[in-house]
Symmetry: C2
Subunit: 592 residues, 2 copies
Amino acid sequence: MVEHSGLDIMCLNKYCHSSSSSSSSSEHDKKTFAQIKLNLSGDYPKKNAEILSGQYGTNLLLIGAALMLAIAHHDPFVKEEHLLSLVTCLMILQLLWMMWYILARDRQKNTRTEKDVHATTCWIRGGLTLLALLSLIMDAFKIGHYVGYHSCVSAVLGVYPVIHATHTIAQVHFLWFHIKDVIKSYETFERFGVIHAVFTNLLLWCSGVMSEAEHFLNNHMRRLSALGYGNLTTGHSEPLCNCTTSTCSMFTSSLYYLYPFNIEYHIFVSAMLFVMWKNIGRTMDLSSNRKRLATKTQGLSVGPILGLLALASTIGILVVYITHVESLQTRQSAISMFYIYGIVLLLFMCCASASGLLIYRVDHIPLDTSKNPSRQLDTELLFGSSIGSWLMSWCSIVAVLSTNSSPPYLWTNCIYSLLLVVEKCMQNLFVIESLYRQPGDVESDDPELQSAPEIFSVTSSLAPPYNGIINRAYETPDKACVTMENEQEESGPVYRCPRKPSEVPLPVGNKVVEPPNIKRQILKNLSVFLIMCNISLWILPAFGCRPQYDNGLEQETFGFSIWITVLNFAIPLNLFYRMHSVASLFEVFRRV
Amino acid sequence: MVEHSGLDIMCLNKYCHSSSSSSSSSEHDKKTFAQIKLNLSGDYPKKNAEILSGQYGTNLLLIGAALMLAIAHHDPFVKEEHLLSLVTCLMILQLLWMMWYILARDRQKNTRTEKDVHATTCWIRGGLTLLALLSLIMDAFKIGHYVGYHSCVSAVLGVYPVIHATHTIAQVHFLWFHIKDVIKSYETFERFGVIHAVFTNLLLWCSGVMSEAEHFLNNHMRRLSALGYGNLTTGHSEPLCNCTTSTCSMFTSSLYYLYPFNIEYHIFVSAMLFVMWKNIGRTMDLSSNRKRLATKTQGLSVGPILGLLALASTIGILVVYITHVESLQTRQSAISMFYIYGIVLLLFMCCASASGLLIYRVDHIPLDTSKNPSRQLDTELLFGSSIGSWLMSWCSIVAVLSTNSSPPYLWTNCIYSLLLVVEKCMQNLFVIESLYRQPGDVESDDPELQSAPEIFSVTSSLAPPYNGIINRAYETPDKACVTMENEQEESGPVYRCPRKPSEVPLPVGNKVVEPPNIKRQILKNLSVFLIMCNISLWILPAFGCRPQYDNGLEQETFGFSIWITVLNFAIPLNLFYRMHSVASLFEVFRRV
């Protein structure tokens, strides 16, 4: 079943071509056409397939985006049903592709599929399964909602959750058994299949984000009119008939607590599928397929305690904020409280990231520059998703500096925003450096066992036995190392500089004062603390604590529509950033 | 003057460290701090410097974006002066850095700086110099405008053009003499300098785009009120005093014809500086530093003629459109005319790209996968800047399908938008494949000279002399080639599969019917034609032909504010796409 390699077909063609060069011109024409046809199907260059599939996926997403924009304007001729029909079709297509893929893999069971061990970890898949379960509950609620209103709403609203549930189950199965595959057969076709899956999930993410944004905007409007700022009509339209069951309102209100999980589920899956897409046709560097890291939890104390403290106080703050922001008397104090709490939390997080970076500065290890699409994507996503929150922060700062009014939270808002920028910069640096450091080789758990023998065995492979022959390469090993390091940047293979015996930390003097596994334990505690803090900063906006809507400052400077647009762009990115940081920091926790 | 390599410093530290391991604890603390300090300054890992400088640049841009958003809302406390002051400061900083860079390079004249020959070409720099000249004229006009109104406008409006002119001159000098440098000393510092330059130019681009968008919006409002659609107030504020010279209005109106050139200048420069940033610390693969391609123009006939025809008719269409769209009677016919012209032009462009791709399918050459940041950036920019126009097209299609009204240009708009999507997809494929094909080796100009000797010399390096020894690698060279090709994808070095003598097109039979340089000439003609068409499609929106503002269809479906937001995002990207395609296609023209 394995597709012929493009080059083989090409060479075959060329053979035919040159052997028939003396035959008639019409026959030649026929052959040329046959060759074009064959080339178009079999020999499509990898680069072209990549670009073409990327363009296909991007356009899918943009069609969805265009529909969403029309829905956002409450255009009478473009309804949510249209978007849902599109998404349902795309999900069915993805289901068909996944089925085909699994069947094709089953049939060629005897050929071993290469795997990319970096592509994902057990605990990420576990987390995603949990998120998928919550999504399934959401689908059940949606079906319940449809049953209640089925007499007056479109059938699409009933079909969609059923298909979505099927899609979720099938996709989780796919994640567990196939996401690490390095596809090497039917490359062009599979490339389209995978990118279709990536962008279907992205579209589901976008549609979830839109529903959330609409919900928050409606909430905001409701609050404003409750506070007496004019009777603003909300864009939300309830079905026109009465619910036939007694649980409709319960379904509707519960849905919004489940949305955040569904949203995170889809964006994570699409990132993982994107790594799979990047891996198509890749030749794996087998040496980089190391054995898995074992998660060790010994020596954890301060980090988890402080983290849990942060988490608990966050939930307290969330409850207080949501209840207090509704009334005119307590509104400003609720907002002030949020900012002060945020400043304290961010200061701690900055300190944690800074200490992590300082430890790395003391403890020099050359970076691991082997090719790893998963890690590179992690880096790019961290960086890219920070942009949303940075833009929001700078807008807040501009608003504070230019405003005429002086609410009590004016300067706390400014400091909070500045700290948000600084904290993200430092955390990104810390996470990215952690991911690029070579894990657990240099500092083994037992400093006594580590010292001489292992290191000498590494160097001995390079150093000559001291038998009197002068070897210039060994005389200046540092320079050699530098050159090799530079070359590493360019090409794939990993080569670590051997340490000279004199560089190896010896178990004397300062060694007793600061043995390396104390550094490691500090790093472990720091990452656990940062994980908890990031979860806190995810919970706050995900469940309704969005002072950017409520404080009125930015709205005054930028106007309602510009500011809401900025928020609709920035908040989903920020939520994703926090969840993604949690995943990355957990990886850091396991590596240090 | 060359900065010490990080690793060297580290090794020195470790030496001290281990030799002093028996000394007192306070001395050790001091040393640790000294080490941290040294590491922070000298030994900062490359990856961190990259991330940190990227974050610095992004935040610069976002500060500017926040200011622009506030200005767009006409906030009374944030004025254009604030933005201009920020930009002026950034330009002065960049000037200082460039001065430092040039002086530092001058002092180490004896050490040869490595160059990346792919970074830019002579003709790109020539084109940029031309754009820079037009920018200088714009600055002169701005100074003239300031002189006329100096009594009532902020001094920043006078300082800004002076600094901008200085900046432009210095930057063009920098482009000519230093843009290809591969920086290897003071890497961390220079990284910040270069990224500062990249984002200063991006900010200048954004600010130019904002001025343009505002100008078009005001124009649109003016037309609408002239047509009787209510008296809409424009946001544009003229200075409050009278002009003291007689040329103010001339300056103001001329400015808008020069803006498009200034905008393209800045975005191109920032792309080139970004390549320079990517090259910092890179080890050049000297084998890929081939000699320059000579631009050959023989055999050009159909392409330039058709292209010039397209260009001439575009200018005609532009003039007719701008004059006819102002009046109510001719408005609809002007818009219809635009769409019909666009459809014809796009159809021709699709055919051109498709023929190019077909020629490539017939004529298989393995792709050149050597590392080349410049080319990769070209690819990503082509892809990324297409997104704007795709979004606009899909919005138009959604609007057409959902509208209730039926203007005469309803379906032409739909077809035009669809063709726009298809044309960009095909052109991207064509350009990217062209850039990745190995240039001009396989088909030399003279088919007689090319055939046997050269090829045999290539294969002979791999093939054994036929002396009876059976070599398995030569028996199945195709398979060997496939493996090597896959390896190429992963690592840097280029290795081209040798062609077997039987694969080499021999000068018999079909050779006479279709000698390879006919294919080449077709490709050259196609790329010249596409260049002219892309220039046409740049001229139309750049100089005022934007039916998306005038046709009213999309505005009805998406609402005024959403649609204007989409246009403000999409049109600048589309303009950049066209200019960038012209540059890439010229590169294609020189390579085929």
